[in-house]
Symmetry: C2
Subunit: 546 residues, 2 copies
């Protein structure tokens, strides 16, 4: 570059709002978490599939046909042939496209899982990003609720494999048909009431947040929040509101169990006939599906849709019992509705029940980390035949926070290999670097008894002096540092410094420091070995801290 | 939906050009491959880091300042504040932004690795996609060529860990300063010749493709290809062309080795003084860096830049020797230049040397799967201080093809858990589903002696009859199928059908089929066990085929 050119202004290194970087501990622990989920899904017979990040906007269902442009909530751009492309906003719409495109080649029912980032062009906020990861499992081409039951069991097993104890999670199941039946009965059936039905759904979905009184307002005229903002309600009459709220109150209904069993005896009989895999639990039978019974008591039992919903829930309940999943793991809960419009049958949600302290200092349940349901219409958008489907989606970063909250071993950084830093005391003289290079290479070849790598080894490659190099080793969390100055070089030795023990000793009181024991430990914390015994010496230090 | 609404036209399920889906075998095998690379990079002290897919266009260096819009080669869209955002087109530009933004918080030198998809808004073609995966490792904040040497060793180790044998790959190293020195000497120095220097670089980069005569044309007036298209050349005089071509011809220079060692004795002496880690190989010394010597013979030795380049290569050579990496794994090759303009020092390329048959039926070397170099200017775009950096990038899908070509065990599908399909013979009657559900759940809990899952188990959830269910099991590649009809149910048993042995027996000749041995095997291929012994029975079948 010639000297008379103006120096260009420096760019500012910055990120667009709602996008974040992730550092080493998070990346490594998330990777371990994803491996556990992959294996869990795989054991259930699900196969991985991967679709690209970019799809035609119309295939995602995000094209606004009246306005000839994409929904603003998705990141979109035009291809060179002017067609609109978008970044995927979930993993379900691309799956529907994939299955439709490869319909004849896929085994059906088609069980698959997918993991990856999705994008929302929405206003970011605390814990709300414009790029976030989902992990989905779906069964496409099966209309039986046995598929929904399988997804619920898979969700429960996956939580336990990730280190979330039984009792700290619950999979809640409900059926949209139950609520649809009630809505039909109170006069909200038909295409013309689609908007009001959605308002009802969203009101019920707020039960956790606003409580029954808040939902009552949202089902009626509307609700004003603390800031004075008014949300218009569904405008239902108080009788209708009572019916819906009654439906959600599972706790009142303990004595209704026998009624439900009397109504749908078939599956309970089936359980009796099942052969002896040792799964059916006497206690479970007594406890039984309290909540299913609660919904069964409603006067809407006369309604076909409602009956179908209850029948499906009872079938799910029988399948869960057969496989040994009691209500401590999976239970029917009439308050679960899921906010999305496209669900057509069973819906489910994975809730973590252990307490955490929220941003306002209140102790609350951790809450939902995954959810899903049956969506029999989505694949059918592309196909001449109806294609039933069910599936669920894990919010990966939320689940990751949960694993950290319960201190799951999966996200423990002790799962990483220990780091050894080879310092380069004479780094001003390039002729000594090959010697340091030989040491770090020898360390990298160290293996444990199973032939697996024993450690990570780093050679200091900066230009700073020895003190800065020791700080570097600390900052990187190294277990030990390797040092060779001129005197060691001449003696054919190398010094191994145990940084963990060293830090402990440095923190000791003056009295302790004068003791003979302390001095003996100091000798352990920093010792010289012949260069040829470097790896053995490091192994001794690692063994102290494993 | 009311009956009088028109039925909407079905959407066509299709993908934008240059984007592809990936099926189960590819996804699972790629995941195993990435795990091996992760571990290999981790052992070298590299930490993972992840940056988002979306960056400010100017941070990527892809904003065209004169035209106030992004480069067409990247996918771009405007944020709601009208700033331009782009999908990342490589993993290096986001790293530069990340390091600059977090400069004070990062340990320096900063070793990191990253993996992920990148996007190019270019014309797709065979093997050229608009979304593809890269796996990068970089050392930022270190100006010593010891960093470049480390990256080369890391590349070599990674190839071997992936199952590519020594001799089937070579890491080639060169230094841009050598060529820059030559270009300066032949009058191509200075900012005003930047364009011609790039033309020279790109011409040399075509040596593999067009041979020395093709490069000669591209360095001179230009070259016409088979289709008649003319590529304008660098317009060099024939003397200058001879110098450059001489520089690339390593084979001529065997007798120049001793000259180079005489010129740069220091590092060779350092090797002599190195203590006994058992790495220095006598044979290696004799063989020595032939190619480094070849470039050293040039008359441009008088030129400072050239001398600096040779000195750096000699230092790299000494480091490689010290760590025991002979020229069978890493060697200096003056023909490597890399097409990118931003490299400032050592450049390197990982070439796979085993033969493959290309699309035209010719047997060729597999070719390059990774490459990189020193880019001391990129991070400095954001920072007041200069920030030297070096790194390389693996083309993941190309490397994946290579592993398949050499039949690496890493990509072998036998690494997957075997699949067992539980059929649902009486799937028309929902009351029998809980029994099948109990079986599949029991299978999913089967563990090997280390407590790891033993198998994958799938319950057939479709509506088809028994023959279709057996076809489903075949299509999914199941090892065995579990069958329970009414007679088995009454007897409390279940049938286990070994699909692999079954297929072998079905393929036998008529004579063989009549034999007693065949009949004995048939009994092994399909047998009944009490339901409680299902898992043990399946274990017997899996043991046959492991």
């Amino acid at each position: 570059m010639s000297a008379d050119k103006p120096i260009p202004a420096k760019l500012k290194a910055r990120q667009p709002r709602g996008f974040v970087d992730r550092g080493p501990a998070d990346v490594a622990a998330t990777e371990r978490m994803l491996s556990v989920i992959r294996e869990s899904f795989s054991v259930y017979g699900f196969d991985p599939v991967e679709t690209p990040f970019v799809e035609y906007t119309d295939a995602l269902g995000k094209f606004l046909p009246d306005q000839d442009r994409p929904n603003e909530g998705v990141f979109s751009f035009q291809d060179d042939d002017d067609q609109w492309l978008s970044l995927r906003y979930d993993l379900t719409a691309p799956l529907a496209r994939y299955v439709a495109e490869n319909f004849d080649a896929l085994p059906k029912p088609y069980r698959s899982y997918r993991v990856g980032y999705v994008f929302r062009n929405e206003k970011p906020g605390p814990g709300r990003f414009r790029q976030f990861m989902q992990f989905d499992a779906d069964i496409v081409g099966s209309g039986t609720v046995a598929g929904d039951a399988e997804i619920c069991m898979l969700a429960a097993d996956t939580m336990e494999k990730l280190g979330i104890k039984r009792g700290d999670y619950v999979v809640k199941v409900n059926n949209r048909k139950v609520l649809d039946g009630v809505m039909e009965a109170i006069g909200l059936g038909g295409e013309e009431n689609a908007g009001r039905r959605l308002t009802v759904l969203r009101a019920i979905d707020k039960l956790d947040k606003f409580g029954p009184e808040g939902v009552r307002l949202l089902l009626g005229e509307g609700r004003k929040d603390e800031s004075g903002d008014f949300t218009k309600g569904a405008g239902l009459h108080s009788d209708a509101i009572d019916e819906i709220l009654g439906l959600l109150n599972a706790a009142e209904a303990d004595d209704m169990v026998q009624d439900a069993i009397a109504l749908f005896p078939t599956d309970y009989e089936a359980i009796q006939t099942m052969s002896g895999l040792g799964f059916v639990d006497e206690e479970f039978k007594a406890d039984d599906s309290v909540a299913a019974a609660a919904v069964a008591r409603s006067r809407f039992m006369i309604n076909d849709k409602y009956r179908a919903g209850i029948q499906e829930l009872t079938n799910i309940s029988a399948l869960l019992q057969a496989a040994g999943y009691g209500p401590d793991r999976i239970r029917i809960d009439p308050s679960v509705v899921r906010g999305l419009e496209y669900y057509t049958g069973p819906v489910y949600e994975v809730e973590l029940t252990f307490p955490v302290t929220n941003e306002d200092g209140q102790v609350v349940r951790f809450g939902s980390v995954a959810g899903g349901g049956r969506y029999d219409g989505l694949v059918g958008r592309f196909r001449p035949e109806p294609v039933p489907a069910t599936g669920f989606s894990i919010g990966v970063s939320r689940l990751f926070s949960a694993l950290k909250a319960v201190k799951s071993p999966i996200v423990d950084s002790r799962n990483e290999l220990p780091l050894v830093v080879v310092t380069a005391m004479d780094n001003k003289s390039p002729e000594f670097m090959p010697g340091y290079q030989a040491m770090v290479s020898a360390l990298r070849q160290a293996k444990d008894e199973n032939g697996r790598p024993l450690l990570r080894a780093d050679l200091y490659l900066g230009a700073s002096g020895f003190n800065a190099q020791m700080k570097y080793a600390d900052r990187r969390g190294a277990v030990c540092a390797i040092i060779q100055g001129s005197s060691e070089r001449e003696a054919g030795t190398v010094v191994i410094k145990d940084l963990i023990l060293g830090a402990e000793l440095a923190a000791a009181s003056r009295d302790v420091k004068d003791s003979a024991e302390h001095k003996a430990k100091q000798a352990e914390a920093q010792f010289a070995v012949p260069v040829a015994e470097l790896v053995e010496g490091v192994k001794r230090v690692l063994a102290r801290h494993s």
